[in-house]
């Protein structure tokens, strides 16, 4: 992937993520349910590994860190990524550096090492299983 494509995609995703968070935040404040975009959830009725991230992020903004952890621990990661990456890219573009691109390539290379990838995916799978058990237990 070229640097230009990556910056365009990441900037778009980051800004879209921020808009999505603001939109969901306002919706959840009025006690309405945020719009469900998860295809997996709509088809099977079960939560997918990243379902609950937006609730978790909103909880973090409110300062309910424990509740955020209960809703989805990936919310912390998602919140950091969405918060940092657009500004990192803008700073890179303004200063003519390519630190984000190098970071991306490093992550890409790191995740190509089998045991790193397997442990990362196992962790997400484990979190998902815990969530599924809770979900099936509650309903």
């Amino acid at each position: 992937m070229t640097r230009r494509n990556l910056y365009f995609l990441a900037l778009f995703l980051g800004l879209a993520g921020q808009i999505w968070i603001v939109y969901s935040y306002k919706k959840l404040e009025r006690q309405e349910e945020a719009f469900n975009t998860c295809i997996f959830n709509r088809v099977t009725g079960l939560p997918c590994p990243s379902c609950g991230t937006i609730h978790s992020i909103v909880s973090i903004i409110h300062g309910n860190f424990r509740q955020a952890l209960m809703e989805n621990p990936l919310g912390y990661l998602g919140f950091l990524i969405v918060l940092i990456i657009p500004y990192w890219i803008l700073a890179d573009l303004a200063l003519g550096r390519e630190s984000f691109y190098r970071f991306f390539l490093l992550t890409d290379r790191l995740l190509k090492i089998p045991w790193v990838l397997i442990s990362f995916l196992s962790l997400i799978f484990l979190l998902w299983m815990v969530k599924l058990v809770f979900f099936l237990h509650w309903f």
Binding site: T37, C38, I39, F40, S50, I81, D108, L111, K112
Partner: protein
């Protein structure tokens, strides 16, 4: 490498690469040393149609991106519910082209 072998490779592997690159691959193969033939033959390529099926079934979790080796994008797709479902659909149309690109990069690494 002699023309017969290059043509045989093109005939059996054309579906793995983008059509506009076929001619360039053939020329590159003709210039390549005979000793690389076994390595080139033993490379495994991703099947674009299979990747499309995987993208339809598991694209929501970024499995298609993980398999073709775009790890960073795979993680991004996994963590965002398949880009709120939009990226999943966009990838149904992009994944075959990307698979062919990855196959070409793999071959180019061997051909030098």
């Amino acid at each position: 490498m002699d023309a017969q072998k290059a043509d045989m490779f093109i005939m059996t592997h054309a579906k793995f690469f983008e059509p506009h690159l076929i001619q360039a691959i053939r020329e590159k193969l003709l210039q390549t040393d005979e000793s690389k033939w076994m390595t080139i033959q033993s490379l495994t390529y991703r099947e674009p149609v299979l990747m499309l099926i995987i993208s339809i079934l598991g694209g929501h979790f970024g499995i298609d991106r993980f398999i073709i080796g775009d790890m960073g994008l795979g993680v991004a797709k996994l963590l965002t519910c398949g880009g709120l479902g939009i990226w999943t659909i966009v990838d149904w149309f992009l994944i075959m082209e990307r698979t062919k690109e990855v196959n070409f990069e793999k071959l180019r690494m061997v051909l030098g």
